[in-house]
Symmetry: C2
Amino acid sequence: MHRPPLPTTSAVLELDQPLPLDGGQSLSAVRISYETYGHLAADRGNAIFIAHATTGDQHVASKHPITGKPGWWDRMVGPGLPIDTDHFYVICANVLGSCMGTTGPASLAADGAPYAMRFPVITIRDMVRAHVALLDALGIARLHAVVGGSMGGMQALSMAVHWPGRAARVLALASTAAMPAQNIAFQEVGRQAIMADPAWAGGAYYGTGAAPDAGLAVARMAAHVTYLSEATLGEKFGRRLQDRAAKSFGFDADFQVESYLRYQGAAFTERFDANSYLYVTRAMSYFDLAEEHDGQLATAFAGVTARFCLVSFDTDWLYPTAESRKIVHALSAAGAAVSFVELSAPYGHDSFLLDVPALDRVVAGFLGTGQ
Amino acid sequence: MHRPPLPTTSAVLELDQPLPLDGGQSLSAVRISYETYGHLAADRGNAIFIAHATTGDQHVASKHPITGKPGWWDRMVGPGLPIDTDHFYVICANVLGSCMGTTGPASLAADGAPYAMRFPVITIRDMVRAHVALLDALGIARLHAVVGGSMGGMQALSMAVHWPGRAARVLALASTAAMPAQNIAFQEVGRQAIMADPAWAGGAYYGTGAAPDAGLAVARMAAHVTYLSEATLGEKFGRRLQDRAAKSFGFDADFQVESYLRYQGAAFTERFDANSYLYVTRAMSYFDLAEEHDGQLATAFAGVTARFCLVSFDTDWLYPTAESRKIVHALSAAGAAVSFVELSAPYGHDSFLLDVPALDRVVAGFLGTGQ
């Protein structure tokens, strides 16, 4: 595709009030890095907030400043695309705890030194609290929609439950209302890989010239396998060898899938901070919308006012359809308006990011054109 | 169960001839540590060879000398049990490349120093070549059966293909004829976790007092999650907290599943050598029975004479039923006698090791009583 660059506004908001956190602490001087696309209508009613996934960022449809790659949802957000910037004012903010400009463990604390592990453990709701502060600053009382996949879906659901009325529509893709045990387990493996790296140094590696890149790469590799499907891996790589006619009888990356994984791990360390990985995955493992309602998800949804659309993918074994179905059942029990579709796509959990024409139709249909 | 200890013979065979390897090298003075249970019949026709899985060992039904735990298939092997030692002479040998007495990277090379990474990369067929040398030494021309789950199943299939006639029956549980890409990927993550640990030191950590325990623990954790099912993890742990009433808002093992994984990782380093983990998983990733037959598995099976029984488990997503079905189709195309059953069991890949009464019946029925 040869599209002209999408007009983008990059900005940073510094909150003038401390941000209270679920853990009981509060954070002062929180900075929120965000991008906007399109134009805010005079009535401020055409805003869509896109919440990014674990290692995503605000560059939803603009070139990534480190990797130079197109935005992570470039195919979904733009003029004439399913999230149509000719109609909507799209906002995407880097989440609290991350490392692309929003306050996180690499940021400087009041004493002038990086927080590192002094950064408080945050929750998905804390991330959304920061998003809501941004919406307040932008004067947006009610979003046309909040949209997100995976961890972005968790943020969308959290906004619907904890700030009812803030979004007229909630679109959650490949997500869950409570992190399942298997996902907690995989993320713990990633955190342990980082913390096992001596260069992690208890998180105090900033300014030392060292960083736990080896551990972070392993964490990324482990996670990356879970984002794909066996079908994708089988079709894309199978047992094909990498640039060689025969096995090396050694420990090089003989197989294409091994080479691919090593590349993914190494590339990730160029753009992501290991401590942020700890904090963001910790927030995900803590996510359980029903927790404050004796495990009754329908009760959690009792006060919602938005219309919901849930999407799952048949090859996504990390956030399987059953997770979306639980949400749909609870929303239905709470009397909320909800539509749900399981789409067939071969790409596993990553399907929400990839070329799935049926997803485009669902997204465009649910969001409408804001007219 | 309070059963008297099963009479066991522990022994070590040192091969007097070099063992040729698929990689083109050969290994001198190979030692094979093995155990036997029951009594060899006068006609030597009642022997069953059990091939162990990735991190298993010869202690199939005897107390593990390091952990003190019962044998890994204690519930399957013994008097009156499905693999009935009142009838059968059961042999289980530690595989080549492992670390429980059979020659592996921790063993001393001819120069008196440990092989470490000078140990040649081996294959599943190399492991079986060592098993066959052991059977030769024991004077066992034809096994009543060769039995194995997971990597043990690969060895059983390899013996059937490469040493036809050596086993009258082949029982392969939760296995595959060629390591799928997803499994190659997960094992690469494990190897990278070990090699990322500075204490690995290029494999030359023997005698230094250090070892890449942190990396090995991460590798084990990553693998362990894949051995279980989401259902098992959900039922066994769910989102329950570990010895606390509320989340710590920290990075301790708040969740039971995190604590369990950390324990599994740490415990594993007590009994397994990191370099062995590299070599054994490398052998698995190289496994592809059809490779020498232009990808035609049925051709690989053309010369087999054994009767086969394949078993898969419905919740095993690591070696799913489709993998066993490919084997069954190819065996059928080759005109071999094969029975196949997919059992329902909640434990994921680990089902073949756990309490699945239907499995006991399949195993006992297929093996008979040797009469």
